[in-house]
Point group: C2
Chain length 460, copies 2
């Protein structure tokens, strides 16, 4: 360790006491990743309890040119929270308070470490809920940093829409507030939107003001099977285009269905499925469900199973949220390359079918599933642990998915983000715009201490 780092770590130990640690076990915990992206551990881990502590920490790190990486729940999929260049990981688990609920403004103020499930548990009695649902019980700070979305984005939007205002700490320790509690503003650059999705490379988020939604009066959900992939995807496209305000519309291919059956004790037929949910007034939900049913029937849909009771719906969505572990469990000794892309809805059928054909022609398997209502789908490419040839094949398939998405006018990631895993596609997607991101980065973090190695062009 360099002399200057030793000094910095001593100052941080003074600041945080045993909430600053270089213990190997803690450092190793922060080298864990949900995905195939790997990195060594950070040199130290900090557990701040306040914005002021984060500010002082960054001031010290800035002075000593030490990398700083934010850590929420560790559930990101492209290695965002890994300390690619060492340095300090800032774990926000002790900044996880619900600070204020403003039911009359349908807003909440939270600290970044609170998870979406914890937030919704706290909101239960208010008649409101936070809609963004990426499946994993992610932290809100991490969800904002990666511009997460998930099953309900088709109706309620992504973190881009859900974050109204932020408090963030810049690389040099300066604390700024972006946005206000007003529903809209045209007062200057949209710094909130600039920070959301910046993956911890521009600032650390210390507080979020989030939009809530009213709990719907009525909810209805269903699962239904289709004769083939094309008819299921066409049903999605037609439903979206017809303007039915779907709350959720999720696709599972037969391999994903088989994995979910085995893992969650379901007995769905071995066919492509859609899982759908409707929110609204009782009359509105009935009307939506009827329209969807007509469109689905035209596409040869069979075996509609309605989940009217809350516990049946909970079981349905638990099955969906467990699709990832279910797929992993479907092959012994497996790990996965999990990847997502997003395409215009008009190109969804092509994108899904070409991807399925590509995987079918490969020696490895990879269930396809996703939030198809907004053109977003995932492949969970299953590889034997330690089998380099299979991992290479999975990366090749994932790369072809990304290239296919760009060719069809889409994006290399709808919701997982860039991190380290998708750096190689940024130039193809953004061209000269990638350098503009680099210029913004240098303007806000000239020493490059915030999450180096992620999202941005290599420093020249």
């Amino acid at each position: 360790m360099r002399q200057t780092t030793t000094e910095a770590f001593a100052a941080l130990a003074d600041l945080l006491g045993d909430r600053f640690t270089t213990a190997q076990a803690i450092r190793d915990q922060h080298a864990q990743s949900e995905s195939h992206v790997i990195s060594g551990p950070p040199d130290a881990v900090a557990f701040p309890r306040s914005t002021e502590e984060v500010s002082i920490l960054l001031r010290i790190a800035h002075e000593h040119h030490i990398p700083v990486v934010g850590w929420g729940a560790g559930s990101s999929l492209e290695g965002h929270a890994l300390a690619a260049h060492g340095g300090i990981t800032v774990n926000f688990s002790q900044m996880a308070q619900l600070l204020e609920v403003r039911p009359e403004d349908m807003l909440v103020r939270v600290q970044p470490g609170i998870t979406r499930e914890a937030l919704n548990t706290e909101l239960r009695a208010t008649g409101l809920f936070f809609p963004v649902d990426p499946g994993a019980n992610a932290s809100l700070g991490g969800m904002a940093a990666t511009r997460a979305s998930g099953t309900t984005a088709v109706r309620y939007g992504t973190m881009r829409d859900a974050v109204l205002a932020l408090e963030v700490v810049l690389a040099d320790g300066t604390v700024i507030r972006t946005g206000t509690a007003a529903p809209k503003s045209s007062a200057g650059y949209d710094l909130t939107a600039l920070i959301v999705g910046s993956e911890g490379t521009l600032a650390l988020i210390t507080e979020l003001t989030l939009r809530l939604q009213g709990q719907p009066e009525a909810v209805s959900a269903a699962v239904c099977a289709f004769p083939d992939m094309t008819s299921a995807v066409d049903c999605v496209i037609e439903t979206i285009q017809s303007g039915v305000p779907m709350a959720r519309i999720e696709f599972l291919d037969p391999a994903a269905v088989a994995a979910c059956n085995a893992y969650s004790g379901q007995a769905l037929p071995a066919a492509p499925h859609l899982l759908v949910e409707f929110h609204g007034s009782a009359a509105g939900v009935a009307e939506q469900a009827e329209r969807f049913g007509e469109i689905a029937a035209d596409q040869g849909c069979s075996g509609f199973q309605w989940a009217e009771r809350a516990e049946d719906r909970a079981a349905l969505w638990k099955m969906r949220h467990n699709a990832y572990p279910a797929c992993l469990a479907s092959r012994p000794n497996a790990t996965s390359v999990i990847t997502d892309v997003c395409v215009p809805i008009s190109r969804l059928a092509e994108a899904v079918e070409e991807t399925a054909a590509d995987i079918a022609a490969s020696p490895i398997s990879g269930p396809i599933l996703g939030h198809v209502g907004d053109g977003n789908f995932h492949a969970i490419l299953l590889v034997e642990k330690g089998n380099a040839a299979e991992e290479h094949e999975a990366m090749r398939l994932a790369g072809r998915m990304a290239e296919r998405a760009l060719r069809l006018g889409g994006t290399v990631t709808g919701e997982h983000g860039i991190g380290m895993g998708k750096l190689g596609y940024m130039e193809a997607e953004h061209g000269a715009g990638w350098a503009v991101m680099g210029a913004v980065k240098r303007a806000l973090d000239p020493r490059g201490i915030l999450n180096p190695g992620k999202l941005l062009p290599p420093v020249q």
Copy 2:
């Protein structure tokens, strides 16, 4: 004119022929403003026809350090399009094509000079429409640059939500594309959101990809009177909080109503009014209207007038859109200071009532109206042309509105933008965040040629 400018103008005349002019009459036209904000004319006006021409123009201007200001329809209200530092105004009226309609993706690609009314005329047969409606027949490029919104934002969002992707030209002539045609992305910084609302200070917009909405199956509108301002505003708050998906919910105070009566030949009672519109299925609209009616009745609403026929609705919204000229016409030889603020919905009643009391206590009059469903309202402060004392008083009242909005947790402008008119409130609203905007500006436009004198901190 400096030697270097002479050279640059000669090069631009070569490039654009008679579409580059220094004629006094054309320059003077581009010193016109809809509002009280004034400036001298630009030194020249250019009428490019392609992205390539804009790129070459900026390359030349960049080389010669000449200011460049974009001009759409000239309808902005804070002097955004005025050449505060001289230079070249780029008039986009010859880049006003509808480039592509993608009905299956509910998207359209347009050039920046097309106006929202022209776009909607072209879309009429598609079953789709572009919802953002600031009243004025603004250009889409200008609406994106100022993050405009308007009467329908409460349901369909602002330009922040409507712009999916952009093609822009940076200060040095570099052309970049931000965003894709996919409905969402988490691939890097949200440059689209950074450009939207940047008021031409970061780039010139040469193409927009915009989200469309389905034309609702059923539409119903109504106007209704309330016994006092508090009951009207409380009705708005309760309606929004109850989750009724209002398409429009507009407030007019008695002075605005009187002006509209006189200007548009209506005979509304001299009371605070709400103008509302419902979009949905026939059953959905009926259900929404019934709920709204109940809430309004509880607030003492009377004299509901329904506009079921399209021509009646058109007359109603024409009256609303003409409220600005109507207010101007309500006082002989008047001009106005028109200003907007936006507050959290829970503070709307306070904000409107304190503003009304402030204006009532002043020697000048100022009707209040606005898109209150998202906490946004306007005062049209009427001053005698050339009366400096009245103008000073209007600016004082506008300043107090801005300060009040900040005190109540809101923003100094919901939709009009900063331009030159509201520069003085940026520090109060953003604190250290304003300097961050300045850092982003310098990173993208180090020579400061793009719309100098607007939005940003003074150059040190």
